[in-house]
Symmetry: C2
Subunit: 166 residues, 2 copies
Amino acid sequence: MPRTAPSPKSAEPAPRAKARRPRAEPGDVFDFQSNALGYQLRLAQLRAFDLFFEMLAPLDLSPARVTALSLIAMSPGTNQAALAKALNVAGPSALKLVDGLESAGWIRRVEVEGDRRRYSLQLTEQGQARLAQLREKLAEYEARLTTGLSAVERQQLMDLLGRLAR
Amino acid sequence: MPRTAPSPKSAEPAPRAKARRPRAEPGDVFDFQSNALGYQLRLAQLRAFDLFFEMLAPLDLSPARVTALSLIAMSPGTNQAALAKALNVAGPSALKLVDGLESAGWIRRVEVEGDRRRYSLQLTEQGQARLAQLREKLAEYEARLTTGLSAVERQQLMDLLGRLAR
DNA sequence: TATTGTTATACTCTATAACTATA
DNA sequence: TATAGTTATAGAGTATAACAATA
């Protein structure tokens, strides 16, 4: 992604008559990035994802899986339909998240007595045991993501983002 | 996506012995979202994308296409290889962006005399004419995205995001 | 040999529609 | 009839590998 201009060109000599092509510079009327919040958001998101996968891929986790795992940990016994609704994704998407968490050993599907249509989603013993490690990793991730920001600035950023997503 | 807790439960009576399941609440040790900047970033990004497509789909544009279009408008005559490098995407991805912009009537591939391998990417007359409209739409998009933020807060957010993506 | 653009292919994430088995 | 979970399928986005034409 083009983050910034290659270099300031203000010190360059003016173009000589027709010797140069009309090549616009960042900051001109066709520069739809430099002052675009949507674009900055996209770049920040890309950086956050890169860092996330770098740090958490060894645990077989993606951002979406962590969210799903967190919901299951907070509401043990929940089912896929409730999970899909809470995550605001379609049924098959929730199913894949559950499949992923299950094959990575984090959770298990348990039959529900009284309703043979649904599964109760529960942490495995291994998953339970690994939650502490995950919490540490996530704290480390957040720390690295906000390297260079003070605690106050980090909170400011959270607040401003929250007011955006409202 | 689960944005906030359903409601504060602090006013509830304490659980009676074994009458309740151990159901954790947001803010507890398994809540990996509430205080996670990465998560807030994801939500804000989702909101930004939704709004973008709502407002700019009629122009056959996606965020990536706008970035590509902007680069072409700022560097008329550039080619796909240069575009791919500037966008930090693989060749076939740049090709699809160019295909999309071309079939939407924004740009055209022009043969380059002296090097029959490459195309010169240029705005069409129609594309040229629609740039002003696009600029307006993007300004309106930014305004709607930051509804509720002051100009100072918007700039703060840009700066903080920039320091994140560094 | 290297470069430009292209095609073929694959993988991920997302969605909808249709199916099954249960309720 | 409605619900829970699943399968099949499709589309957007990304990537790599292999290829043709040209330099």
